[in-house]
Amino acid sequence: MAKVSILTPTNSPLELPIVTSKVPAGFPSPAEEYLGDTLDLNQIMVDNPTATFFARVQGESMTTTIFPDDILVVDRSVSPKHGSVVVAIVNNEFTVKRLNMNDGLTLVSDNPDYEPIRITGEMDLTVWGVVTGISRKL
């Protein structure tokens, strides 16, 4: 179908339309039918967008798996298990650690230079969310 667009000149109270028509020429692209979705990294990185938040890593307590400046994909709808990497709140600060549920609760750093944190009775530990992915640019 031909497209018709009406152009109107400015600065004139009485405007006379100029009609132009554009006729498509040439063959349509044979790939047109196959054009569809593009790939979006979110599709594989984020399972539940409603419950997912992002956090940025500072410090080296998890180096071997997680490095400073990495962006963590944190899914709060996932229940933490033994061995989960979690964002936890300890002493009112966010920290990323591996959750060890053998013999009480311990927050373990993947970097062997850091001591594990044993959660004792008077300590206040909140698991804020489970880390389900890491985004890093090289």
Binding site: N48, F53, A55, R56, Q58, L72, F94, V96, T126
Partner: protein, 420 residues
């Protein structure tokens, strides 16, 4: 029960949002301030307990704030809006009919849930919102919206375990209404409750048992509706999408008073831009606009001035450029030198739907829908205000006071939570 309404409401919404990203705010008094850091518009339970009232101006509660080390925050609507959308998404998983009533409240309508235990179903929603979003919520369940509101009120004030309270049986409804002043009923404002008190109706139970035909004569059909709703007969339907606004108002106070015409022009341009965005979003056109400016009426030493002008456009439009041009002409008419202006704003009037509007035969406003569409999509993709008319200026020196605003934890990569 064929039909049940649930009102889901986030407790102390703004404060709860802030606490999710700032653990140091837990278990202590916190308040969030209105635009321009004026009054307390959200309070944590701890802040309520030490006597900070809703709407209290910050300068009047400085003593309590210091004494109890109350954490005071500016409002962060980018954050609250994001969590509000997530909240509605959780609700939509659990019920097919959801009406978002305000930023922190939604109605659900359960039809055909005969075989579901609705109390347990709603307790599950409370748990999910708590886990996924860290937000504490309460749900009131009842056969009408008005009763669901009341059920929610009690769920909150009685701090019921699991957060869900149902008002359904005769006995619970009677108990709930007996001690509830009519002013607490949804849709009964202060003026109406004074009128009701005059005819001897003080509690919700008295209103429920009143003869609604007599009331309808004295009040309006709305009062009859309220009475029936209190009796458990649903008269107010679920609204899927809010009706388009008939008028769009955009205004704000300056953080500092000013007589600088350039700043005032920039502020007006900003409001016009926002107004036109709303206009296009709801698919409306406006045919006239009011521009207003005023000094601070609460300042005794300032000379006072307040003026507005309404401008007609030759043709209804939604093109920002057209409104900007008229607004600047209007401002020129009403602006007077020698006054310190505190507030400016615009209002778009005579709204019509984009489909049914009439073209002017002789005058056609230069309007290019493609341009505005392009601007809108650029701003949707790259953030608000990425593409804008230069009239708005670039530094927003007039913009409002927001000194204690938390970061954009969910909408800016530089602001996401830092973990060690």
């Amino acid at each position: 029960m064929s039909k049940m309404f649930a009102l889901c409401d986030v407790n102390n919404f703004y404060v709860s949002c802030e606490r999710l990203f700032n653990p140091a705010l837990r278990n202590r008094p916190v308040i969030v301030l209105s635009n321009n850091d004026g009054c307390a518009v959200a309070r944590s339970n701890e802040a309520k307990a030490i006597g900070i009232k809703m709407g209290a101006p910050l300068h009047k509660i400085q003593d309590i704030v210091r004494k109890h080390n109350v954490q005071v925050l500016s409002s962060n609507y980018a954050l609250y809006g994001d969590l509000s959308n997530r909240f509605v998404s959780v609700l939509e998983r659990s019920c097919d009919q959801v009406e978002q009533y305000s930023i922190d409240e939604s109605f659900l309508l359960y039809e055909g849930f005969k075989h579901t235990n609705l109390i347990e179903h709603n307790q599950e929603i409370v748990k999910t919102v708590q886990q996924w979003l860290g937000l504490p919520i309460c749900i009131g369940l009842a056969p009408s919206k008005t009763l669901a509101k009341i059920a929610n009120h009690y769920a909150k004030s009685l701090a019921v375990p699991n957060g869900v309270l149902e008002l359904n049986s005769r006995y619970t409804v009677k108990n709930a209404l007996e001690n509830l002043p009519v002013s607490e009923i949804w849709g009964v404002g202060r003026r109406l409750s004074e009128k009701l008190n005059k005819v001897g109706i003080h509690t919700a139970l008295q209103l429920r048992n009143a003869d609604y035909k007599t009331l309808q004569r004295m009040f309006s059909v709305n009062m009859e509706r309220t009475v029936l709703e209190l009796r458990g007969k649903s008269c107010i339907a679920l609204e899927d999408s809010p009706p388009p606004k008939k008028q769009i108002v955009c205004s704000r106070s300056f953080s500092n008073k000013t007589d600088d015409l350039q700043l005032i022009r920039e502020a007006i341009a900003y409001h016009v831009t926002r107004g036109c965005e709303t206009l296009r979003k709801q698919g409306s056109l406006a045919k006239s606009m009011t521009v207003g400016i005023r000094t601070n009426p609460f300042s005794a030493q300032d000379k006072q001035y307040c003026q507005s002008i309404t401008l007609s456009l030759p043709e209804a439009t939604d093109h920002t450029g057209v409104f900007l041009k008229s607004a600047m002409r209007g401002l020129q008419e009403i602006y007077k030198k020698g006054f310190l202006y505190k507030k400016v704003g615009i209002m778009l009037n005579d709204l019509s739907t984009a489909e049914g509007h009439q073209k002017d035969f002789f005058m056609s406003v230069k309007s290019s829908p493609e341009l505005m569409q392009a601007v809108d999509s650029i701003n949707a993709k790259y953030g608000k205000g990425t593409a804008k008319f230069a009239l708005q200026g670039f530094n927003q020196k007039w913009s409002m006071k927001s000194e204690r605003r938390s970061k954009d934890f969910t909408s800016n990569w530089n602001d996401i939570v830092k973990v060690k």
